[in-house]
């Protein structure tokens, strides 16, 4: 069952195309980009934002929409809380993952799962600005007038089986993550958009409780 939860957790990450996206050009000096990204995130202790998610089912020509709240607390605490059209909470805290739906709460220790460790790390990397040094993905960086795009291609077998890629969109101004796109091997796409992001607002530790 842990594997199924891992699968669920993986859907967090927007996966997408790796070819140069329309409107973006390749960033040549990724070292400079990574330094700037890391510097921008150094002063961020907490993030809370709204998010909306659209699942595009290619073959069925359907879109399923949901929305909720996203919370991050340094160093490694994340809470994703779906509020509509269902209640679903996923909390990551120090290698532990808690999943709560309308009926049950389940806890998973990522130490027992390499895939979950990978998921945990990529989420934290996104928020801390260390995503380019993640060995589980091959990363390419692109830019447009006001945003950056980090395109990740999974190099780990467990991820390759599910996703063809992950795209992370950031603002150039503050390096805020505004969009995550996950592309499944079958052509389906999950698109998460983040809005109303607030930095360094006090967040209650209980949001990240996994016990």
């Amino acid at each position: 069952m842990n594997k199924i939860i891992v699968t669920a957790v993986f859907s967090l990450f927007p996966l997408v195309a790796w070819a140069q996206p329309k409107g973006y050009t390749s960033v040549k000096n990724t070292t400079t980009f990574e330094t700037e990204l890391s510097n921008a995130n150094a002063g961020i202790r907490t993030i809370n934002s709204d998010f909306s998610q659209t699942k595009n089912m290619a073959l069925l020509a359907e879109k399923v929409k949901s929305k909720g709240k996203f919370y991050f607390m340094k160093e490694d605490k994340i809470r994703i809380e779906y509020t509509q059209p269902f209640s679903y909470i996923l909390v990551m805290n120090k290698g532990q993952v808690l999943v709560k739906d309308e009926q049950k709460t389940s806890k998973v220790n990522t130490k027992n799962s390499k895939a979950l460790q990978s998921v945990n790390r990529i989420m934290i990397d996104c928020m801390r600005g260390t995503i380019l040094s993640n060995p589980d993905f091959k990363a390419s960086v692109f830019e447009s007038g006001n945003s950056y795009l980090i395109a990740l291609i999974p190099s780990q077998a467990a991820m390759k089986n599910m996703f063809s890629g992950i795209d992370i969109y950031l603002t150039k101004k503050q390096f805020d993550v505004t969009r995550l796109v996950m592309k499944e091997n079958g052509g389906d796409l999950t698109d998460m958009n983040f809005s109303n992001a607030q930095h360094n607002q006090p967040l209650n530790e209980t949001l990240f409780k996994v016990k």
Partner: protein, 216 residues
């Protein structure tokens, strides 16, 4: 004399117990079939459900949630897709125009013959796919009408009260699965709530409609 009394008491008890554990459909009274249960066969373009699965395999309990979509395609095929809350598909099943079943996609963790067969059967019973109309028989018990079709193994009963389909039961010598239907507004409408309870497999699937969040 006393041992004889004891023996007869035990026999009586045994008969009562056997009766209690026996075929739950034994007391059904056969009736002429005036209107086929196929009048309840669901008609829909697309329907979305919140789904929660609980079960136990050997000693280990499991719990799973997601979104289940039913869609009738332009070529009259039917697709049923289960995905998790964050969008990753667990499985994608298809019944083509000839009602032939195909697994279009399934995650390795669910790709077990027994699991696929169980899900296929559940969904077919709900959607009334593959029923052999020539095997249909009608029975009554109290206020309920039981309309029975033969399956490869056992039977399926579509049970209605006042022309309202309330549950579906799959049984052999004993009841195997009960599918309870709630909030079914029209004769051919998929219900608001569905609960699949597998009596032998210790496996339950609960569905609740959330149609408002689907867009084409």
């Amino acid at each position: 004399m006393k041992p004889c009394l004891k023996l007869s008491s035990l026999s009586l008890l045994l008969v009562v117990l056997l009766g209690a554990c026996g075929n739950p459909y034994k007391k059904l009274l056969q009736q002429p079939t005036t209107s086929s249960a196929l009048r309840f066969q669901p008609e829909y373009d697309k329907v979305l459900y919140r789904g929660i699965v609980d079960g136990k395999m050997i000693w280990k309990r499991f719990h799973l949630s997601g979104i289940l979509m039913f869609k009738k395609m332009e070529d009259s095929s039917i697709r049923v897709v289960l995905q998790n809350e964050m969008g990753v598909s667990f499985f994608d099943f298809e019944w083509d125009k000839q009602q032939q079943f195909t697994v279009k996609q399934i995650i390795p963790q669910l790709d077990k013959k027994a699991v696929v067969a169980l899900l296929q059967k559940d969904l077919q019973l709900l959607l009334m796919i593959g029923l052999q109309s020539q095997t249909e028989s009608t029975f009554s018990k109290d206020e309920e009408t039981y309309q029975r079709f033969s399956l490869d193994k056992g039977y399926v009963y579509y049970i209605s009260t006042n022309n309202q389909l309330t549950r579906i039961e799959n049984a052999g010598k004993q009841k195997v699965t009960t599918i309870s239907l709630g909030g079914k507004n029209g004769l051919k409408e998929l219900p608001e709530r569905v609960v699949f309870k597998h009596h032998k497999a210790n496996f339950t699937i609960q569905l609740k409609r959330i149609d408002d969040h689907v867009e084409e």
